[in-house]
């Protein structure tokens, strides 16, 4: 009894301690700052970008960074790299966050249903997930993206499909764990409907781990989307997209290295931002989830 009352502090106290825990978590704070800066750039791209990201200037090709009006130099057809980076932040954030959200909702719903209902349906879904896990890393995304034809939409679909199983498994695992816990038993004997038990009792418990995993997956999606773009499966030129900028700058690596390396730095920075947030959020959560598959 004594431990029960100790573990549930007053609501105001809890809120305050969450804020304090966020602020005392260095990696979480740094991650949030990095991502906030990139979000700011994406939202206000129109105002802060010094040039038109699509403006071609054949007379100003391959200008070095800090050598003139173009702070980060220009690319192979004289476009301003800084402006393209700023506009590219929109795509980078979109293809990192949107597939995560969609996969979280779909995978979470599948996991919730499979875990709660159990039985044959659960077995079949888990078998399908097993098969999808048999495809290493980005291969399946590459295949789906290539089959559907290159472009933003097919890239997002591909990313969603390959990340659904991980969300499904995590949510299912949590559901199985808490399904048998006392309060659910109690709710069941009180005659609540299945939908009510699933939504009111299980969903809130699932949310934490799913969101933590989602943040970590967002960091991985930054890399996954950049990789697909690099292979030519993302938004097509002249769209300012970081992975694609890097790929087209690659040919001039010997003479104008900045064209390829600078977009790469942007990718690294965004991935670090999301990874720091994910690590921080994971540390604040139950340590159980630190052992989930990476």
């Amino acid at each position: 009894m004594a431990t029960m009352t100790q573990s549930i502090p007053a609501a105001s106290e809890q809120k305050e301690s969450v804020l304090r825990r966020v602020l005392s978590n260095g990696s979480l704070v740094i991650g949030l700052i990095i991502v906030a800066i990139i979000i700011f750039a994406a939202v206000f791209a129109h105002w802060i970008a010094p040039f038109d990201p699509l403006h071609v200037d054949p007379l100003a090709r391959y200008q070095r960074p800090f050598s003139g009006w173009h702070i980060l130099g220009t690319d192979e057809i004289g476009r301003d790299i800084l402006s393209r980076l700023i506009y590219g932040a929109r795509f980078a954030l979109l293809v990192a966050i949107l597939p995560t959200l969609i996969a979280l909702v779909i995978g979470g719903a599948i996991g919730l249903l499979a875990g709660y209902a159990g039985g044959i349906g659960d077995t079949v879904i888990m078998r399908v997930f097993d098969i999808m896990f048999a495809f290493p890393g980005i291969l399946l995304a590459l295949g789906i993206s290539a089959a559907l034809g290159p472009g933003l939409t097919s890239m997002i679909i591909a990313m969603v499909v390959v990340t659904i199983p991980a969300f499904g498994r995590i949510v299912r695992g949590v559901v199985l764990g808490i399904k048998e816990e006392l309060y659910v038993e109690a709710a069941r004997t009180l005659g609540y409907s299945h939908a009510r038990i699933a939504l009111r009792h299980i969903l809130p418990n699932v949310l934490g781990p799913a969101v933590v995993y989602g943040t970590l997956q967002t960091g991985r999606n930054v890399i996954l989307s950049a990789s697909l773009s690099f292979l030519g499966l993302g938004p097509q030129p002249p769209t300012p997209e970081w992975g694609q900028m890097l790929a087209s700058g690659r040919t001039a690596i010997a003479t104008a290295a900045h064209v390829a390396t600078i977009p790469g730095l942007a990718i690294v920075l965004l991935a670090i931002g999301f990874n720091l947030i994910g690590d921080g959020a994971r540390d604040m959560m139950d340590p159980r989830f630190t052992k989930e598959r990476s």
Binding site: I131, P136, I138, L139, L142, G149, V222, F230, I267
Partner: protein
């Protein structure tokens, strides 16, 4: 142990069948007329019609899958129009190169990763431990193709120490091969190295506070032996599982690394196939790499059991 292996072998059969279904379905989601995509736009109407009949495109999906599976069992993965060769031939001739790179990378990632993770776990919270976590963060936030480019820039173009692409020098010597392997191997290994280091560290820290570690210490066993003979073996099952999973990332990462370094493997062929939408080659490449991954995990399961004496009995 033998029955354990047989049991596992039986379990992977449905997974492999599932993998073939998934790769088969890839061709099904192609929008428009598959014949256009499968043959390229230059093919004549006659060859298209031939292909439609051969694939049974007018038949129900399960019949089409049957045809796909039958062809597959005969080693027929279709025709690659990029290479103007059967897909099987393209893949087989390049499988060795990809394996060479992937094996070199997993060896590098495992040895350095386990060593670094163990080294950090000896003094948790120390400068070197925090240093490792920063390196891990960077390695896990870097796209491999960018790391590859930076390495090419530094070691290939500026320092002129190492070749920047391809697999052999003009002489075809072993030293030439080794020199060509250095940068791609490191590029491919970086991500996995970081994951293995992180997981080794946490696996060792999980066991280092165990009672049996205290028992060994209380009997005067040296710290070095404590870590190497007591903590590490008990952390091994976790570490092996992680290494096995990393093999998957290495096989898929090969597409990017081979592209950056023009390494003549399956991945580079698949990259070339993407721009021409050579779907049969992409399909075949995915199938081969996925099955390789399943088989590697089968071996990993057996190793896991070997390192975990409690499973041997079961």
């Amino acid at each position: 142990m033998l029955s354990f292996i047989l049991n596992r072998a039986l379990q992977i059969i449905p997974v492999i069948i599932g993998v073939t279904i998934a790769t088969f379905l890839l061709a099904q989601i192609i929008p428009g007329d598959p014949a256009d995509v499968l043959l390229g736009s230059t093919a004549s109407e006659e060859t298209r019609q031939e292909l439609r009949t051969a694939l049974g495109l007018s038949e129900p999906v399960y019949i089409q899958y049957g045809i796909y599976l039958k062809n597959l069992l005969q080693g027929d993965l279709g025709q690659s129009f990029t290479f103007a060769e059967p897909v099987t031939q393209v893949l087989v001739s390049r499988l060795f190169n990809t394996s060479l790179l992937a094996i070199a990378a997993i060896i590098l990632a495992s040895i350095v990763g386990v060593a670094a993770g163990t080294w950090a776990a000896l003094k948790p919270g120390s400068i070197r431990d925090q240093g490792l976590s920063v390196v891990v963060l960077f390695f896990n936030s870097m796209p491999s193709f960018w790391l590859g480019l930076v390495l090419i820039l530094i070691f290939g173009l500026h320092l002129r120490l190492l070749p920047v692409g391809g697999m052999d020098d003009a002489t075809g010597s072993l030293a030439g091969l080794a020199a060509h392997m250095v940068l791609p191997t490191f590029t491919l290994a970086a991500w996995s190295l970081a994951v293995i280091a992180r997981m080794t560290r946490s696996a060792i820290l999980d066991v280092i506070n165990s009672d049996y570690i205290r028992t060994a210490r209380s009997r005067g066993v040296s710290e070095a032996r404590i870590v190497l003979r007591h903590a590490l073996p008990n952390a091994m099952p976790t570490v092996i599982t992680v290494i096995g999973m990393q093999m998957g990332f290495l096989l898929s990462g090969a597409v990017l690394t081979e592209t950056v370094f023009s390494w003549p493997g399956i991945g580079l062929a698949m990259y070339q196939a993407i721009s021409t939408r050579d779907i049969p080659l992409i399909q075949g490449g995915i199938l081969v790499l996925a099955i390789a991954f399943v088989l590697i995990n089968f071996v990993v399961d057996i190793l896991y059991a070997y390192f975990n004496p409690k499973i041997k009995l079961a």
